[in-house]
């Protein structure tokens, strides 16, 4: 049987192809490929055991990387709401939303990226605060509209809320004093106006 030739190169494949008169066609566009940006998906799901696992497992299996995920039940005990932030191009995130819809426990998925929304995140930061720096730290906390929730010898715990970038800014600001611990909830997002994703489901 013949394999590669003496140069180790394979023989050229026998090719054929349609040859309508107007020259080579442009390559077919692939789905997606647009600019990557941060997207916010709101998923309303049945509050059942394992539903968080289903959502996170699907995102992993479909190669989407979740930036943050916040979950809690809604006003109705049997329905939970997830706020998922992820980076991707518009088509890829649309695909993520469609895949989420395939889950039986998912009632509604909405990409609110382009819509006017309220976005808030809460962070607790345990900041090193010695006698010499405590006053400065407290001043910064005050300016950033943070709140001290615990004071101990050598440290304070500060609560800040705001958009992701506001929390980022505060964390950057106090980093020079030393951050002993940091925990963030991830963004929770709600569309502005009187429309309601939860009422839409009930209808």
């Amino acid at each position: 049987m013949s394999g590669p030739d003496s140069n180790g190169r394979l023989p050229a494949a026998t090719t054929h192809g349609p040859t309508p008169a107007h020259g080579a066609p442009p390559p077919r566009a692939l789905p997606g490929g647009g600019a990557m940006r941060r997207h916010v998906l709101i998923a309303v799901v049945l509050n059942k055991p394992g539903v968080l696992n289903r959502v996170s497992s699907l995102m992993r299996a479909r190669n989407f990387n979740i930036d943050s995920l916040a979950v809690s039940h809604t006003d109705s005990e049997d329905i939970s709401r997830m706020t998922i932030t992820l980076h991707g191009d518009d088509v890829a995130v649309e695909q993520a939303a469609k895949q989420l819809y395939r889950l039986i426990d998912v009632l509604k998925v909405q990409d609110v990226t382009g819509e006017p929304t309220v976005q808030q995140e809460l962070a607790l930061v345990k900041i090193r605060a010695t006698d010499s720096t405590r006053a400065e730290v407290l001043k910064l906390v005050d300016l950033s509209r943070g709140r001290v929730v615990d004071v101990a010898d050598g440290s304070v715990i500060v609560e800040v809320t705001g958009s992701e970038s506001e929390v980022d800014a505060f964390v950057a600001l106090v980093r020079t004093y030393g951050i002993k611990e940091l925990v963030r909830t991830g963004a929770v997002v709600m569309a502005r106006g009187s429309g309601s994703i939860e009422e839409a489901i009930k209808r």
Binding site: H16, R28, P31
Partner: protein, 624 residues
């Protein structure tokens, strides 16, 4: 309490014993402790009370019967024994004792594909459950309606690494349409009904139900839900069946404007039982039909508008038609990479109408001009009403071109003499003879690899649901067990399992099931003493570096004899017809061992990553 990885173990406890134990084991005397103790005893003590009451296992059998299940494929084990204890009370439920749970899952799959009904397989916890996994994955990738049921350890022992406990729910979660863990017999009627509803509604797929042993044993009076109650209980599952009227109008306009349209028919046509609608639509609009591997049978190959099988090993003329088409009408298919090759060079002149019941499939692999979300039957029926009747003469030039290409393509890679250049049987010839001698009316079940491609190309399919093949997952060893289910599903048809020596050696233990249950599967074993498709890729893509593609096989006649399966061997073209007729004449399972050419390739072939215009049609010798 803070625990970090790598921390040293706690120091030994001091002399004073704490009043509460510092572990998750419940304290003695509590209700939890009593439950764990009962569960442990239950694991050791089998058997039910002599006084017969309705238990969870009864509910399961009732629910299966209500769903119209007549046969299921299973293997007993410790925690599922409560079911086996009462199975004798349900003689209308046929239980097929498989030899390996994977075979049971494939059999349920084969049954589902030929009947369009939901296939059912079962296994016990632990290894029984994990053995089902390959079959469940096969069903998922090919959208086959299946309900897989496993037993699990008693609820109180879950999470304690009990004997034969594995987190099977976690394992099947990403590879089922939905899955359940049932700990309470009162939930069983609802869960089983939901599982069947989900498995067959919308885009079909496998659903897994894990049932704890105590739920199977528990007394219950729970009633079975009505169809309306099931739907009401699944608010997140409302598949969209009707295509959007605006999209359908757009599609009709595209079809009216197209000069070189091609229909791409997929598995969705078969799932929706839309084969007649497909033919009516194609005839009215005079559009040739190409099909995917799983779309085989959507239109009879004898129909004048049936053009052929597309893709990596599809017909050259079909791929050529797709590459020069100005409109593709894709129905119930998903533009798999085996169909498109390199998407950048796929159908470069075509606009695409894509109708699928699963919105996630649309725009996933290729960007399309007209997306339609809906059931293939309803979409086709709507389109038939919207398109104009086309006079074939207006497409005369197009049809002449297609006929030219077809003539040119059929002449290549065909060994009408029956022998390949090494003198041994040519596999394409063998497949063609099986098709002819069964009058193209059998069910043909492929394994995976070269045999699968030869079957798809040369058997000549006439009927819907007559071709069973593991397309998406490409599961070797699929053929024999799937044929077992297919034969039980359609006993009115002859059932042929087409397999290679590689795949056959993966699951041939099911021969014994065929014998024990007297299931008349005819097995065509194409033995090239190679992992043929591996060898082909190694020859063409890996510069002839044949590592591990040479496969030693047993004496298959002796093997079949040991199982009690009548068998015959054919090595020359003259013996082929007699061998096939021998198998047809056997009442029960039979095996034909075809000694085929060792180095025959399936051509044409689209190398992975290349486009449909880059087909390899010849390699090495003059007569592939």
């Amino acid at each position: 309490m803070t625990i970090a990885k790598g921390d040293p173990a706690d120091p030994p406890p001091t002399a004073t014993r704490p009043t509460t134990r510092r572990s998750h084991v419940p304290n003695d005397g509590t209700a939890e402790a009593a439950a764990v103790e009962r569960a442990r005893k239950g694991m050791l003590h089998e058997g039910r009370d002599l006084k017969r009451t309705r238990i969870g296992a009864d509910v399961l059998c009732e629910a299966l019967l209500r769903q119209g299940v007549d046969v299921f494929f299973s293997y007993p084990g410790g925690v599922i024994l409560p079911l086996y204890d009462i199975l004798g009370d349900y003689p209308e439920l046929r239980h097929v004792l498989v030899r390996h749970e994977q075979g049971g899952a494939h059999a349920a799959d084969g049954y589902a594909r030929v009947t369009g009904r939901v296939g059912v397989c079962m296994g016990t916890s632990g290894p029984g459950a994990t053995n089902l996994v390959t079959g469940i994955g096969t069903a998922l990738l090919d959208s086959v309606p299946m309900v897989a049921i496993t037993g699990n350890v008693p609820a109180a022992l879950i999470g304690k690494d009990a004997f034969q406990e594995i987190d099977i729910n976690g394992i099947t979660l990403p590879m089922t349409k939905h899955n359940y863990l049932v700990r309470d017999a009162d939930d069983l009627p609802r869960v089983v009904a939901e599982a069947f509803h989900i498995a067959r509604t919308g885009r079909p797929g496998p659903v897994h139900i894990d049932i704890t042993k105590d739920a199977l044993q528990q007394e219950t009076r729970a009633q079975h839900p009505t169809e309306a109650e099931i739907v009401a209980g699944l608010p997140g599952f409302r598949p969209n069946l009707d295509g959007h009227p605006r999209q359908l109008k757009l599609a009709a306009a595209e079809i009216a404007a197209a000069k070189r349209p091609v229909i791409l028919a997929g598995h969705g046509i078969l799932h929706a039982k839309a084969w007649d609608d497909l033919v009516a639509f194609a005839e009215k609009a005079q559009i040739p039909v190409a099909w995917t591997l799983l779309g085989i049978g959507a239109i009879s190959e004898t129909h004048p508008l049936a053009y052929g099988y597309m893709g990596m090993h599809g017909w050259k003329h079909v791929n050529r038609a797709i590459q020069s088409a100005d409109l593709l009408i894709a129905i119930g298919m998903r533009f798999d990479d085996r169909v498109t090759g390199n998407v950048r060079t796929y159908a470069p002149y075509a606009r695409i109408i894509h109708a699928d019941i699963d919105p996630a499939e649309i725009g996933k692999n290729v960007a399309v001009e007209v997306p339609i979300v809906g059931d293939a039957k309803r979409v086709l029926q709507a389109l038939i009403g919207l398109v104009d009747e086309v006079d074939p003469s207006t497409r005369a030039d197009y049809f002449a071109q297609l006929a030219d290409w077809k003539e040119d393509s059929l002449a290549s890679s065909w060994h009408g003499s029956g022998a390949w250049r090494d003198g041994l049987l040519s596999a394409d010839y063998v497949i063609e003879r099986i098709g002819e001698l069964t009058d193209h009316q059998a069910t043909y079940v492929a394994d995976v690899g070269q045999n699968q491609m030869w079957l798809a190309r040369y058997a000549g399919f006439r009927n819907p649901n007559s071709h069973v093949s593991s397309g998406g997952l490409g599961t070797m060893g699929f053929s024999v067990p799937a044929a077992m289910g297919a034969a039980l599903g359609r006993p009115d048809r002859e059932t042929w399992a087409i397999t290679g020596d590689g795949g056959f050696q993966m699951t041939f233990q099911e021969l014994m099931t065929l014998v024990q249950d007297h299931i008349p599967v005819k097995i065509a074993l194409l033995d090239n003493k190679k992992l043929g498709m591996i060898r082909q890729w190694q020859e063409i893509i890996y510069a002839g570096n044949y590592h591990s593609s040479h496969l030693l096989g047993p004496d298959f006649l002796k093997l079949a004899d040991a199982f009690g399966v009548p068998a015959v061997k054919a090595s020359t073209p003259a013996e082929v017809d007699d061998a096939i007729r021998f198998a047809q004449g056997v009442d029960g399972p039979a095996l034909v061992w075809f000694e085929t050419a060792e180095e025959q390739n399936v051509f044409p072939m689209m190398p992975a990553g290349k486009g449909l215009s880059d087909l390899i049609e010849k390699w090495g010798g003059a007569d592939e």
